[in-house]
Every structure is written in structure tokens, then in C-alpha cells.
Symmetry: C2
Subunit: 208 residues, 2 copies
């Protein structure tokens, strides 16, 4: 059983202290401007000792991003878990929240955004892992809807993947500039409407 975004091996107390100290510095000064000596100093220990808890500086950064992402996954899962939502509302909630989270991270926590991007480039497998975690949330929604007959989905993982492709733009850096959020949001709505009509068509075609 490998570790995933959701199921992390719990951290040693010392390891957590290191991660906390590093996180503060990463958020304020960024990855590059944070040194191992500083992190060690914050924890009242030597640099050498850091390596007893993390293999490298980049691994500390990965642990940091892993926390961010776990929190984000939790929020997404919470958004689609609200009682009384239709499938359509769940999908809309999912992708709107994702757009909002990316947008906010970019504009309000730029250091966290940069670090996240850097890790994704440096560790492609981590990016995959994260994409799979989101896919799992989507699959739960899709499978639940398929079970109640609200949706005609034969291959949930594949469908989730297709949805991720479709909404890729709304989770990428086209989100850069200020003042475009409302525009993106309304386009996202229109995209979802079209997708939804596609699902409706499939439902009436498969069970007329």
C-alpha cells in the first residue's frame, strides 16, 4: 500500500516541528530564499539533524505541498458531499471550487502557488498522484449517480479523466490576471451546461 495524498504516514513530532518551521518560511520568503540553516535554527537544532527526518530540502517542500493538496482535496470532497445536491450541482460545485482555489492561491498566496508548481515540475509522479486523488472524488460522484440512475456512466475513471481534460483550462494559469475571474466563472458555467446536456442525451439514449 503506497501513500497517497489522502493517507499520509503520520509524522514524528520532531518532523512536524521541522515541517511547521519550514512552512512558515516557505510562505513568507519562498522555497529558494529559505535555507536549511534557518529551518534548523527555528527548531533549535543543527542542519545535519534535519536529514534524520527528511531526505532532502525538496522532500520538506513536497511534504508542505502535500498538506496543501490534502486540504484542497478535503474541501472538494466536502463540496460534493453536501446533502441534497443533484449530480449536476455536485459537478458544478466541484469545478467552481477548484477554479476558486487555484485563483485564490495564485493571487493571495503566491509563494505557495510557486512552490506547488515547482514540485509538480520536479516530481511528475506527485502531479499524477494528485490528479488521481481528484479523479477518485469525481468517480465517487459519478458512481453514486450511476447507481441511482441519475447518470449513464459506463466507465467512471475514464469519464472523470474526460472531465478533467475539459476543465483543464479553468485550473491552469490562464487564471493569471486580475479581474478575469467572473468571466472565467461564467464560461465554466456554460461549459458545464453543455457537458450536462451531453449526459442528459446519453441517459435518454440508454434508457428511453
Amino acid at each position: 500500500m503506497t501513500a497517497t495524498v489522502e493517507t499520509q504516514p503520520p509524522l514524528d513530532e520532531t518532523a512536524r516541528a521541522i515541517l511547521d518551521a519550514a512552512s512558515r518560511r516557505f510562505l513568507h520568503y519562498g522555497y529558494g530564499k529559505t535555507t536549511m540553516s534557518e529551518i534548523a535554527g527555528d527548531c533549535n537544532m543543527s542542519t545535519g539533524n534535519l536529514y534524520r527526518y527528511f531526505p532532502s530540502k525538496l522532500d520538506i517542500a513536497e511534504a508542505f505541498v502535500r498538506r496543501l493538496r490534502a486540504e484542497q482535496t478535503r474541501l472538494l470532497r466536502e463540496a460534493v458531499g453536501k446533502a441534497g445536491l443533484s449530480v449536476q450541482e455536485k459537478l458544478r460545485a466541484f469545478f467552481k471550487l477548484k477554479l476558486t482555489l487555484v485563483y485564490e492561491r495564485f493571487h493571495k498566496r503566491p509563494k505557495a502557488y510557486e512552490l506547488s508548481q515547482e514540485i509538480m515540475n520536479e516530481r511528475p509522479s506527485f502531479a499524477d498522484e494528485w490528479e488521481r486523488a481528484e479523479s477518485r472524488v469525481l468517480c465517487e460522484v459519478l458512481n453514486a449517480a450511476a447507481a441511482t440512475g441519475d447518470l449513464a456512466v459506463c466507465d467512471a475513471p475514464r469519464t472523470a479523466r474526460i472531465l478533467q481534460d475539459i476543465f483543464y483550462r479553468f485550473a491552469s494559469s490562464s487564471v493569471y490576471y486580475e479581474g478575469e475571474f467572473d468571466l472565467l466563472e461564467s464560461e465554466l458555467d456554460d461549459v458545464l451546461d453543455l457537458i450536462w446536456d451531453g449526459f442528459e442525451h446519453r441517459k435518454s439514449a440508454s434508457a428511453p
Copy 2:
């Protein structure tokens, strides 16, 4: 009337010689490794004279990319113009060709790809212009289909925009690595199938 990707003011003979010389160097060595002296030398003229035909080096590069893009637009238009194609086939041809063109440019003409990216970053308005040019091609397809009743489209530009959003992933740098082309192509197919079902649903809803 402003110049667009399609309607370029025809170039002076000297200007064309400059652009041709610059293009050769851009393609072989890239933008940064090409100097104005070299371009001038290739044309048997002085550096100063280049500025009688182009305001700056970047403008030569823009003219170069403009050519590339005009050719690409021509190919896209040709693809959707083939006789006997249904709307669905036209849309599929359009986005598949676009995926192929981006992929090929990236892998087979990396210098051209880089230069294209650089211009898009340096001149956002050029990127907009290009997006509008593609939108126009899509709108022609959509409007023609709406006229024959093959498609229920009330706002063609908006719909074109939505389609561009949806297929954004297939025209961006997720296309980086080798061997993923077939995978992307099959995902593109699935996306188009879903979109198509959406259009079908709208047609039957608007004219039952």
C-alpha cells in the same frame, strides 16, 4: 480596418528579403542566437537599414510567427471546408488537426515553437488576435450548421469560445512528452463525443 492574422498588408520586396533571411536563422538557431548584424549581412545591407522596414527585432519575429499562424489557419479552414463532411466531422477534423499541428511543431520545429510562445508572452494582443482568427473559422462552421438545422446554436461566438475552452488542454503543453500522442487523441475523441451528445440534446430540445 485593422490587420488580422489573415489579412496582412503585403510586404515590400526588401522587407520580404529581410523576413526570409531572419526566418532561416530563427528556425536554425532560435531568436536569441540570431543577431541583427547577421540578418543584415545575409541581405547585404547594414543593420541601420533593417529599421527602415521593421520597427524592431521583435517585430521581425512577430511577422515570422504571423506567417506560421496564417498557414495554420489556412490548414484549419481547409480541413473544415472539405466537401461532404457533417458538422461533427468538421469539428473533429478541426480539433484533431490543431492537436497534430501543435504536437508536430513542438517536436519537429522546436525553435519555431519557442519563438511562437515567446511572442505570445511578449505580445498578449497577438495571442488574442490569433484566438479570434480561430474563433472565426469555428463560427463559420457553427453558423453554417445552424442555418441547415444541423445544430442548435444561438450565439456562435460564445459557443466557439466554449469549444476553445474545452479543447484548451489539447492545444497546450501537456503535449510535451513523446509517445503520448495516441492517448491524447483518444481522449480528444471522447471529449468530442460528449460535446456532440450535448449538441444533439439541445437540438432535440429546441425542435422536438
